[in-house]
């Protein structure tokens, strides 16, 4: 699963898609996840990283990651070819 290559993300959590002109905001943890996905990390790797960096449990991370990735798909920010 990949974030589309033209999706740009700024340090302040501003996401811009040049192809459609759409923009989004993400919170810091959302931005961290998008950055990791852009580095081609798998969802499992990203989840593990989040679990290690934040005060939470794996079940919560998995549930929230599922929901977040579903939103990325809904907003067409993910390449569906792979």
């Amino acid at each position: 699963m990949h974030i589309k290559s033209d999706v740009a993300i700024s340090d302040s959590g501003f996401v811009f898609v040049p192809a459609t002109g759409e923009s989004f905001t993400v919170n810091p943890i959302g931005a961290a996840i998008i950055h990791m996905l852009k580095e081609n990390k798998s969802v499992e790797e990203v989840s593990k990283q989040i679990f290690e960096n934040y005060k939470t449990d794996m079940a919560t991370v998995e549930k929230d990651m599922n929901d977040f990735v579903a939103m990325l798909k809904q907003y067409s920010l993910i390449d569906t070819n792979d």
């Binding site: 923009s23 943890i29 959302g30 960096n53 934040y54 929901d67 939103m71």
Partner: protein, 452 residues
Amino acid sequence: MEKQRYERPLIKKLESSMPNKFGTRTEYVPMTHIDDVAVKDLIDKYESPLFVISEKTIRGNIRKARKAFENRYPKVQFAWSYKTNYLDAVCRTFHQEGSWAEVVSGFEFDKALNNKVDGSKIIFNGPDKTEEDIRKAIQHNALIHIDHLDELYSIQELATKAKKKARVAIRVNMDTGIYPMWDRFGFNYENGQAWDALNKIMRSEVMILEGLHTHIGTFMLSPNAYAVAAGKLADLAISIRDKYQHEVKYIDMGGGFASKNNLKGAYMPGADMNPTIDEFAEAITSTLINSNFKPDKLPLLILETGRALIDDAAHLLGTVISNKRLSDGRRTTIIDIGVNILFTSFWYDHKITPAQPFTQYTEDTVVYGPLCMNIDVIRDNVNLPLLNKGDHVVIQSVGAYNMTQWMQFITLRPRIVMIDTERKVHVIREKENLNQLLEFEHIPDHLKDFNL
């Protein structure tokens, strides 16, 4: 490295047509403490959900209300509306502040007696007074506010039998320019019903007409409606004086002042929009003072204010059970507070505040209660910070009509604590348990056993 506080990841599409709310929510702060007691400690000790009542706020509210009226009018008496919240600790706080009791059933009457309120300081309202209730009210010298003619005849008969005079008033309903008009209670002013009842009382040997009563509605937003009502009662009182040379001792304006809650569908927040108690006081007292009462013969002014004195004195603490997404993409949060204990969520858009720090990121959310019932919606659309499972929330201004109209349904009713003025926490009502409920039930012999 220290782990960071977790917040669920959020992505939100920016609509160019909508103002961007990010970074503008500085008005929204977590409610970590109530009267300096930590919400977290309260939940740790008394469990979730939990009603928390502030004695300090109750006392502050009634003192402010008394001042608003007493600064404008020489003789004022508040009577605590039991049905609004009849927990004994709450009632006694009001009684310590000088309030009489206003009750609408035999059960509430007994509760007031049990709270050591002298019968002569109990106002008995309502359409359902049984013969037993009326007998008791006469015996205790209570003020009986007559609702209909059947009641008037019962009082006549029972007082005659008891050889004791009944102290009465009539409830008057009237057009105050407010829609809907509450004309189902009492006797109508405009069509002469009220006069008819007053003539009957004045001719009776066993009833003493002590006062005139009205209660024009609840959550009223118009001080002017009270001015109209006070004017009509004053006219009645003066006509009685002229016709019978009888002076009524009091005019009772009932309750109904709006609290600072947000009514569903209201455009502006209640705290900004709803009239203050001073505005209601000004409307009522200036009308009475400007009427034809002689300055030294002004009647006692009684107020039965309920919600405006107690709503903001209680909070309901709860806990997030889960976050979910609906099929249409809307975010939902399930909390452990259901409509069975928060009846007023049907009328109000209650303010929900997280009890722990949060970031500026927010999401439009539907807040559901824990009941396995579709009606269990606490807020159908509210912009909330991101809450995690296990986080605590504070629902504000829940003091009126919840702790009396709540019901045991699917879940048992939780504890209620009161924080006193020294910040000491007292359990004033225990949580319910299964055995208490089973005490009401009987199982017929033939249903006792079964094999599955």
